[in-house]
């Protein structure tokens, strides 16, 4: 079933690609030239603006590349998301965890509590020995148990996942796909802070978000609704019907059923018949959980002012009862085994829907008639009525407005004009929620190129870090070091607790503490003080040494902030260079003390990273040497540029 879905998505993407190219190339249908000249921009300035919004920052001389490809064609390539990524894949070659399915993740990276339960069950550790938890002997027992069974700590899964995110954003050629992956992940936020959903987040981003970022909004919505990460994060996995007779069931009966079900499962002779019966009866009393139903309307589709009531939330929750996660991992393996033996055919006949990690359980579904936003969902609608509901929400006028406003806030400015939102919303409605078409409408609008848009967005900490890596052509060997800085600057990626996702406005990112950390980040990365991140300042200027300090300042300002007005920056930074005595003193001070620098603040992570990069292990002394080899004054100037207000903007 999963493969069917994939094929459908592929067809969608391919067909919309064909549609797009005919759309753009057909003269008279639509302007194929972005309206930047009308806004008084040169082609190079326009390319720089386009790059600032559709990539994580221009790499050295990328503006010229985009001009030579043609702005429109470049964007079209980006919106296909199909550029060759061999260099990136080479960097990801040692990350084995990032390709695992949810089931494999559950089997390989058990949660801490689960692990201990299993170890107790298998008699590896004594139940009473938990009293000495934290002691070395106990830890050793657990470690040996993990080794024996091939279990790995969950933290390792998240480390690999986060590292690949940083590498992907830094080095992928399909930059727009990553920008949109970030946008939609944040829109459909899930969080590692919620233990139940945490392990499913890597596959959520990889299989649910990334493949769908250019497609139809409804596909994205339904894919998220059916994913284990979302089902657990917003509790829908546990939501079940609230028919009166179900509500009257008590817990005692439920647990008896559970017990009998377990027994039935152990008894291999009566598996098939009993399973179906038991599964249908089991766990009926957990009741309705409105969490997902509320957020899907408030945050994913209509928006808080989208015109729904509390009654709509409750009714929508009833529509989505029975939507849950297919059993997996060690805990679910018995059940899974039985389901497989019962056969998909039998399940389907009984109204079950099994699609990848998703399972619709008819006995948990509320079969009454429901009314949501005035639309009647007749009794006994089963799985399909949930799909119908989500489709209805995806195509609602409030959704068009809400989604287009969010897109405009991400890509244009913090307070997009109504005229722009209206144009985008019209495309959203006319083109069946086609995200690619909505983006093209946005870029074809004069508002995208206006001075209210240029450089008006403040980079998030993640965007600042990645744009720095890209501008400086930095070689990232220990991505987690960057993650630590990004966290310090105020954005702990994947750990945002609330379902709203990170706010997408400058006001949120810029506060006194975070701003200082941004400046310190600039100084740290250029002076090679972030271990595992190598910066070769000479290389970005093709190893030409600028003839003077002033020339260096001008050259590097232009390289790092192409097509920007850098007059003020140069004027303000020139005094830094003009006192030769000062330069000498600073260099001397840096050379003398650089060996004392602190290499990392997270030993575990660094050890893990170093294991990965054995060959290129960076020693403190090598680092210190590279600092003195580099022109420390140049490093300082570039560091100040990275921390400057101009570089915080995109």
């Amino acid at each position: 079933m999963k493969s069917t879905v994939k094929i459908i998505f592929t067809i969608l993407i391919v067909s919309s690609g064909i549609f797009l190219s005919s759309y753009i190339n057909q003269p008279g249908v639509r302007t194929i030239s972005f309206p930047y000249k009308q806004a008084g921009l040169t082609e190079k300035q326009a390319a720089a603006h386009l790059l600032s919004r559709f990539t994580y920052g221009a790499t050295s001389r990328q503006v010229d590349e985009v001009v030579s490809i043609g702005l429109e064609k470049w964007l079209q390539q980006q919106l296909s998301g199909k550029l060759n990524d061999d260099a990136l894949n080479q960097r990801l070659i040692n990350y084995d965890a990032i390709h695992l399915s949810n089931t494999e993740v559950s089997n390989t990276y058990p949660k801490g509590g689960q692990l201990i339960k299993m170890a107790i069950k298998e008699g590896i550790i004594n139940k009473d020995s938990i009293a000495v938890a934290g002691k070395k002997e106990y830890k050793d027992q657990i470690a040996a148990y993990m080794r024996k069974n091939g279990y790995k700590p969950q933290q390792e899964l998240f480390r690999q996942f986060i590292n690949q995110k940083i590498l992907r954003a830094s080095y992928t050629n399909n930059q727009t796909q990553e920008i949109l992956t970030d946008f939609w992940f944040n829109h459909f936020n899930v969080s590692i802070t919620k233990n139940q959903c945490a392990e499913f987040i890597p596959a959520y981003e990889r299989d649910v978000i990334r493949p769908n970022v250019f497609g139809k909004f409804s596909d994205l919505l339904i894919a998220t609704a059916k994913s284990p990460a979302m089902l657990y994060y917003l509790d829908n996995f546990s939501s079940s019907g609230t028919n009166t007779n179900l509500e009257n069931n008590n817990k005692k009966r439920n647990s008896q059923l559970d017990g009998r079900m377990q027994a039935a499962m152990k008894d291999s002779t009566s598996q098939k018949a009993q399973f179906i019966k038991k599964l249908q009866q089991a766990k009926k009393t957990q009741g309705l959980n409105e969490n997902y139903a509320r957020e899907v309307m408030e945050l994913h589709t209509l928006g808080v002012d989208g015109g729904y009531t509390q009654e709509d939330v409750t009714e929508a929750a009833k529509v989505l009862t029975g939507w849950t996660v297919y059993p997996m991992g060690d805990n679910g393996s018995t059940l899974q085994n039985i389901i497989e033996k019962a056969g998909e055919g039998t399940l389907e006949k009984r109204g079950f829907v099994h699609d990848g990690d998703f399972l619709f359980v008819p006995s948990r579904h509320n079969n009454q008639e429901k009314i949501v936003l005035g639309k009647k969902f007749p009794a006994n609608g089963g799985y399909q009525e949930g799909v119908d509901l989500l489709n209805m929400l995806a195509h609602h006028a409030s959704t068009a407005k809400f989604i287009c406003t969010k897109l405009a806030i991400r890509f244009v400015n913090d307070h997009p004009s109504q005229s722009l939102i209206d144009k985008m919303a019209k495309t959203f409605t006319d083109q069946d929620g086609d995200i690619k078409q909505v983006l093209l409408t946005m870029v074809n609008a004069p508002e995208f190129w206006s001075k209210e848009s240029l450089r008006e967005k403040t980079k998030s900490p993640f965007e600042l870090a990645i744009s720095t890596v890209r501008s400086l052509g930095a070689d990232v060997k220990q991505p987690y070091q960057l993650y630590n800085w990004i966290t310090k600057m105020g954005q702990k990626l994947y750990y945002y607790q609330a379902p709203t996702g990170f706010p997408d406005k400058g006001q949120y990112w810029i506060n006194t503490g975070s701003l200082l950390n941004r400046m310190n980040f600039g100084l740290a990365i250029t002076s090679q003080q972030i271990s595992g991140i190598k910066v070769n300042l000479a290389a970005i200027n093709n190893n030409h040494e600028p003839e003077s300090a002033e020339a260096a300042l001008i050259t590097y300002s232009k390289l790092i902030m192409p097509e920007r007005n850098i007059d003020e920056t140069i004027k303000r930074l020139t005094p830094m260079l003009n006192d030769p005595e000062l330069v000498r003193k600073v260099d001397a001070a840096a050379g003398k003390q650089s060996q004392t620098m602190d290499v990392t603040n997270n030993e575990d992570i660094m050890i893990a990273d170093e294991m990965q990069d054995q060959k290129e292990k960076i020693s403190k002394t090598a680092l210190a040497k590279s600092v003195t080899d580099n022109n420390t004054m140049l490093a300082r100037v570039v560091g100040v540029i990275i921390g400057s207000p101009e570089f915080q903007r995109k």
């Binding site: 509590g113 938990i130 810029i510 506060n511 975070s514 650089s594 207000p645």
Partner: protein, 422 residues
């Protein structure tokens, strides 16, 4: 934005006053004693401590005469009777006993500066840490979409502009949910980091700082410009004091922990008169599902860390005690019955502590019923008999002199608990 401008204006005024010479003696004294700005008017300060993980309120402050509890907790129940092998509970009022590790609180309770509210919790019966913390910090237990935190809204209701960027400071590694919102707050893990840094190269750092200051001063983005100004002012303020070698006053000793470091730095800020009005710190490790222990063990260690650090803080701030109220909070309590692994699972109501000279102390407030099964929420948990908002709102209203519950806790129309002196 008005508050930002207000700060710059105030900063300018202060400088102007000094350049005129002839400034009042209290200013001179302030200048000599590491004070950062002249205290035109001392503000009240609310310090909140979030105990993440859900504290077992029934172990912190045990209704020790309750035989149902005794039966439900065969190995976790503690007695107030002296003479056993372990330290007994500290009898507060014949009904409630304070955990022996919280002995530091005893004198404050006797002096009526420490109040306890028992049976406090959220009206939303979620037992998820994630949801419950979110609801408690946003202050809207039935609305997850609330983007701001209640302490941020409190800052907006103080009724005056911020004197410095340090009006609301969270000493945590990331911004707590309580601080989300439109009003300017500072989140910083360590005051020593609050500077432009170049490891091992102070002169380079100074030059870079000057360059940054110039660049931010001339940028056309008003957000970056004003925040930049604030940041550099804040850095300069802190530079005047030695944050690294801070010595707590009155022989106060903070136990070494995250909470201790945070409270120590909040005390520093208070004594520097940087205009702090809301402080925030966190205490972790309260999710005691396994072997929580009695007089010793995980719970006892956490309880000792919390109470000893709070009392170190109280001692350290000395003459500022009249200005400061400290309030703890935790997302929910734990099951009445102990579980199969010597711990307790997620429950409903817990208790909290409020310390201050305007607190109606020496009383265990609230109304908890005997823990017979029919009195328990869902047949298992201490029922929530006090909505956290009736306590939080009263503490904020009385201590910070803000009176706007519709903004502070929208959707809530209940009454004050009566934990503050009127």
């Amino acid at each position: 934005m008005t508050s930002r401008r207000g700060f710059i204006k105030a900063g300018g005024l202060a400088l102007f006053g000094i350049s005129l010479g002839g400034f009042p003696t209290f200013l001179a004294r302030a200048a000599e004693s590491n004070k950062i700005i002249s205290p035109y008017k001392r503000n009240k300060i609310l310090v909140c401590i979030f105990q993440r993980g859900a504290m077992d309120g029934l172990m912190a402050v045990t209704p020790f005469t309750d035989n149902y509890l005794k039966a439900a907790r065969p190995t976790l129940f503690m007695s107030a009777a002296k003479g056993g092998n372990t330290n007994p509970l500290i009898d507060l009022d014949g009904q409630f006993g304070l955990h022996p590790s919280m002995k530091a609180f005893e004198s404050m309770f006797l002096e009526k500066r420490l109040a306890i509210v028992h049976g406090i919790g959220s009206p939303n019966n979620t037992r998820s840490h994630f949801d419950a913390q979110d609801y408690m910090e946003s202050g809207t237990p039935f609305n997850k979409g609330t983007s701001s935190g209640w302490l941020n809204r409190a800052v907006g209701l103080l009724g005056h502009e911020a004197a410095t960027p340090f009006q609301a400071v969270s000493l945590t590694s990331s911004m707590p949910r309580s601080f989300y919102g439109d009003n300017a707050t500072v989140t910083i893990n360590n005051l020593q980091d609050f500077a432009i840094q170049m490891k091992g190269n102070q002169m380079g750092a100074n030059i870079a700082a000057k360059s940054f200051e110039d660049l931010y001063d001339q940028t056309s983005s008003s957000l970056l410009k004003e925040t930049g100004k604030e940041s550099f002012e804040a850095v300069k303020m802190l530079q005047k004091t030695d944050t690294r070698n801070y010595k707590p006053a009155n022989n106060a000793i903070y136990p070494n922990s995250q909470l201790g470091n945070s409270l120590k730095q909040i005390a520093q800020l208070i004594k520097m008169d940087v205009g702090l009005e809301v402080g925030f710190a966190e205490s972790g490790g309260w999710d005691t599902h396994v072997n929580q222990g009695t007089a010793n063990g995980v719970f006892a260690r956490n309880a000792a860390d919390l109470s000893n650090n709070m009392m170190a803080f109280w001692t350290d701030i000395g003459s500022y005690q009249d200005d400061v109220t400290v309030m703890t909070m935790t997302e929910f309590g734990r099951t009445v019955k102990q579980n199969g692994t010597g711990g307790t699972d997620h429950g409903r109501a817990s208790c909290n502590f409020i310390l201050g000279n305007d607190v109606k102390g020496g009383i265990v407030h609230g109304n908890i019923k005997p823990l017979a099964i029919e009195n328990l929420e869902d047949g298992r948990d201490l029922a929530v008999t006090t909505d956290f908002r009736s306590v939080f709102s009263e503490v904020a209203n009385k201590h910070l002199k803000i009176n706007n519950n519709p903004i502070l806790f929208p959707d809530w129309k209940g009454n004050a608990m009566g934990v503050m002196r009127s």
